[in-house]
């Protein structure tokens, strides 16, 4: 079974429904932070109460001390208020500090689990998704969550408490006036329900447009030399111009929609003030209310509508953060299909032959392309094998199955007689080395790349390292690089393809695998250097099995056995002559 990992196939799940259901998704990550959240919750609650007591105190002072002309009373009340404000200050500090800490740790956790997941997923996941897409998706989405978590979340939670608190106080002071003052809030609620669909749509369009624009920019700049050599500056400008214009229109439309929220909220806040003033004065006239309380009321209405307005502003950030969270969630939910099976199960006991054996191995890609059908062969210890065949014939796929980068759709690969799936990744990769067609180097130095992940050489002195290189016959190869072992490797360094292949070659050999697979490993290296590499391969311990894929026939001349891979078959070619015959006259299937 081949699993589908394509993110394109996953419907872009827009967060629908309530914020509650979205928050529920965040719960697993929040669980660890229970203690912090409780402390922060208490602090937030206390802070809201203290903040809301202030206006009440001022109103009370007006009614009970200012209007009766009791100045000492005013001062006493001011003293009480000072204490309340001091408490508000402390609780506010605690709330921000604790909640902010929670947010930072959750964010760390999220990034971390995402990265761990990326390492855990099989190669199929990366092959089924465009690297560029994947990178920008991961970076952008974590950044969006980051923005909300490090800035929005605290304000958001604090505001919710303030709004609820202010609402309660308003209703508590005078429920009739309170209900009237909150009525515009209901209108806002309906308004938000009404337009959120539209706003979501235009924003999504705008995001898509800006994604396309940056894709366009990236592609054009990366391929600039082709654009130049084929006289197509106009192509670049045209494609870019179109994307730019689409982006402008979409962004402007989204802006027109987004900018509507703040004014409407402000407006309704003012309408509420008009209501409070007119209805409040009427109530005072009929003796149901006091002027000082009206002053407090005015402050509470402001404290209700101002945070509401800020919530409206934060809402968009929350929505994008939730959407991003969702998209990260999709990746986190993927499971690796390369499972470890128990070493002593009945299936694994069936002894395979040689170092590695293919038994009835079939493989198809998820989109349905069949690459291998019931392939059978055995590779013995210490021998050299070659895969030849036309491009697209299945050589690289066969090699990838040998290294368990994929699992067969059906059939079994045996490594030293045991089902290859019963080895842990660490055990297996120690035995199998694979030099890939596209050499990839990590940023760092040549040395970092050569000893990448090799703990046993950690802390070796320069002299020790030089001795190791000498032992493997690498000294002259390393000497080709400008600054030897310390030649820096960055994304912008100008190493040629051939030079990268040389480093990738040494990197694989240093690990002394039992099975070394070379997939077009020397395709862009000149034949003289290739000869040097070949000698190095010859000098590998005599038990080492080599599997070579190459177009250049000299590279495979030393093979003990040659396999012709094409048309879903892996056929033993017998002799070199026969292999050449098949290559030259066989019908290409590509």
């Amino acid at each position: 079974m081949t699993t589908t990992y394509s993110l394109q196939d996953q419907k872009d799940t827009e967060p629908k429904g309530s914020a509650l259901s979205a928050f529920r998704k965040m719960l697993p990550l929040l669980k660890k932070e229970k203690k912090g959240i409780i402390i922060a919750g208490i602090a937030i609650l206390a802070n809201s109460v203290f903040n809301l007591l202030g206006p009440l105190g001022i109103g009370y002072t007006i009614d009970h001390y200012v209007i009766p002309h009791d100045y000492p009373g005013v001062l006493m009340a001011a003293g009480v208020l000072l204490a309340i404000f001091a408490a508000a200050y402390v609780s506010n500090y605690v709330q921000m500090r604790v909640m902010g800490g929670v947010a930072q740790r959750v964010l760390w956790d999220l990034r971390n689990s995402l990265f761990v997941k990326l390492q855990e997923l099989p190669l199929a996941f990366f092959n089924q998704n465009k690297a560029g897409d994947l990178i920008s998706r991961i970076n952008r989405d974590t950044e969006r969550v980051n923005e909300f978590f490090s800035q929005g979340l605290m304000r958001f939670v604090g505001n919710i408490f303030l709004i609820i608190g202010a609402g309660i106080f308003i209703l508590f002071i005078n429920w009739k006036l309170g209900a009237a003052a909150l009525a515009p809030g209901l209108i806002l609620f309906l308004f938000a329900r009404l337009v959120s669909g539209w706003i979501g749509r235009v924003n999504k369009k705008s995001l898509t447009a800006s994604g396309l624009l940056s894709g366009e920019i990236q592609e054009s700049i990366a391929n600039f030399k082709i654009i130049l050599a084929f006289n197509r500056r106009d192509y670049f400008k045209k494609r870019f111009g179109t994307a730019n214009e689409t982006n402008f229109k979409a962004a402007f439309r989204a802006g027109v929609a987004n900018e509507l929220f703040t004014p409407v909220f402000e407006w309704m806040g003012n309408v509420a003030l008009v209501i409070v003033l007119s209805f409040g004065l009427y109530l005072i006239a009929s003796g149901d209310f006091a002027i000082g309380l009206l002053v407090s009321f005015v402050i509470y209405v402001t404290r209700f509508y101002d945070p509401l307005r800020e919530m409206a502003r934060l809402w968009a950030t929350l929505q994008t953060a939730l959407a991003a969270w969702d998209r990260i969630g999709i990746i986190l939910a993927f499971k690796s299909d390369l499972v470890l099976i128990p070493a002593d199960s009945a299936e694994t006991k069936r002894d395979g032959k040689g170092l590695i054996e293919f038994r009835d191995v079939s493989f198809s890609y998820p989109e349905g392309k069949e690459v291998l059908r019931s392939a059978n062969f055995v590779f013995e210890k210490g021998k050299t094998y070659a895969f030849v065949g036309p491009t697209g014939g299945g050589k690289t796929t066969s090699a990838s199955l040998l290294a368990r980068l994929y699992d067969p759709t059906s059939g079994t690969v045996y490594l030293e007689g045991r089902d290859i799936r019963s080895y842990t990744h660490a055990e297996r990769t120690k035995k199998i080395g694979f030099i890939l067609q596209e050499p990839f180097l990590f940023s760092g130095t040549v040395k970092d790349n050569l000893f990448y992940g090799l703990d046993e050489y950690k802390g070796h002195s320069d002299a020790d390292i030089a001795a190791v290189l000498e032992k493997f016959g690498f000294t002259s190869l390393v000497g080709r690089f400008e600054r030897g072992m310390n030649t820096p490797i960055t994304s912008s360094s100008t190493l040629s393809l051939g030079e990268k292949q040389i480093i990738a070659f040494m990197r694989a050999v240093l690990r002394e695998p039992d099975l070394l697979i070379l997939d077009e490993a020397t395709a862009n290296i000149d034949t003289v250097t290739e000869k040097v590499l070949e000698d190095i391969i010859q000098k590998l311990p005599k038990d080492t099995t080599r599997v070579i894929i190459a177009h250049r026939l000299n590279t495979i001349a030393a093979a003990d056995d040659i396999f012709f891979v094409n048309n879903t078959e892996v056929k033993e070619a017998g002799s070199m002559e026969h292999a050449v015959e098949m290559l030259l006259h066989g019908k290409r299937q590509s």
Partner: protein, 580 residues
Amino acid sequence: MSPKPSPKTPKSSSSMFGMLRQYWKFSALLAGATIIGNSLGLFVPKFISWGIDMYSRGEPITETFYIEFLALSFGIFLLTYFQGVFQTYLSEKAAFDIRENIADKISGMTYARLESETPAKLLTNLTSDIDAVKVFLSMGFATIISSVVVIVGAATLLVRIDWRLALMVLTILPVIGLMFFFVFKKLGPLFKRSQELVDGFNLVISESVIGSAIVRVFDSGELEHAKFSAKNTAAKDTGMSILKMFSLVIPTIGAVANVASLVILAVGGGYVISGSMTIGDFTAFNSYVFILIFPIIMLGFVSNIISRAQTSYNRIKEVLNLPDEKEAGTYEHEIRGDVDVKNVSLIYGERKVLDEVSFSIRAKTRMAIIGPTAAGKTQLLQVLMGLTDPKSGEVFYDGKPLKEYAKQALYSQIALVFQDSVLFNMSLRENIGFSATVKDEYISKAIETAELGDFIHTLPKGLDTIVSERGTSLSGGQKQRIMLARALALNPKVLLLDDFTARVDTATERTILSNIEKNYPDITIISVTQKIRSVEHFDKIILLMEGELIAEGTHAELSKTSPEYAQIMESQKSTQAYEN
């Protein structure tokens, strides 16, 4: 609402505020809406205080009063919305224009210039730099105006209500202002560091995605994770430092405002008792103090936005102010295909990539360039193509210096098959007929020559199949043959091949080479290759090593006279036994 590119940004405006002058109509509208809207906003507490005072004096409050109040609030609503729309338009339009201008600039660049500016930097210019400027235009500008209006307006109103109390309360302004000044001075570097860390772990993510295969081959997930984790933790720590400051500063601002309201209560209460202040004014005073705090905080934030945007704007300016590269050549004649290279040297940093390389090749003949890895073969092709300018020396086509040719005209006659396969996200037909000058019959001839016919037949949509970005659905060999077809579709006079058969199997390679001989008999070929066997019968072979041309001649000559050549031959000998 279709945007028309505005004329180029005037070079004089080195400050970002110059952009506002460029879009002065919209800037003025935006400023107008912001000033009027915020000024009107200041009247809201005033209305409430009037209402309370009218009531306290026992005067009847008329319906007109409430209607005026409602009208005021509606007016504020409209102006605030206009402000929002104007600032969106202003920022998006400016971003659109800057992008267009940078794209213009890039499309006029030579390859050498693009490389020296570095693609990564241009990418930043076009994305995050523009975003920073956009934030300033959409938020920063209006925030500055509204903050000033509100601070000045509210302060004036406070003074007019009661100057003694106003002076007492207004002392909080400089306190908050100073505090923010110091905090942002400290926050700036922290934000910068946090951004660097984010860039850092994004790099680790990128590498572990692009290098996913090798990470799995080495089972080095944990190693990558350790790299990532270090950066992630550092980012968290920086976030915590920022948080520490914020959690001190923001409650302090609230506390200062609260203290101000206590002063109002204690002192103002006294005034009300002594009758020198009304209850209404007392209420308004409280409201204005809270209205005052917010813009001060906002100014602090905006100062940060401005400095970030200015840095970005300067970077953008740098690119836009690069001198326009003039197309020196004007010569447009058809070429025969004679190529002469005289004393060409090329230096990258300290490394001599090409050292005094000279050779000649007559039209309609074939030459091969052979040499070890990193001998400068690819760079030589780029010099021949005029993509890279040599440090010294010159390239001639038909005896005329490359410089004197109009590139347009030359590029429809010289074609280079690049070593790396680049496919565009469009149909196969468009990819192969990438140059605009290509005719349909050229495309079919090119497809036939590159042996792509069979493959294209297997595709349900044939030539109209859309190729995905990195061409992931195609094999290495298929991609390389498409690259060849793209070059041949120009029907070129000179064909430059950069190791194009490295990923094509021998049988196909042979067929393709003989196809080229058959279908393009008049073509001049310069082929960089690793395989002597494929070029043995070429008219000339040159041997390049470490940037130096160390031997030239026919195969027969070289195999006798050049020990280096003989060595390469020797290394390939085993192959030849089988390939005859």
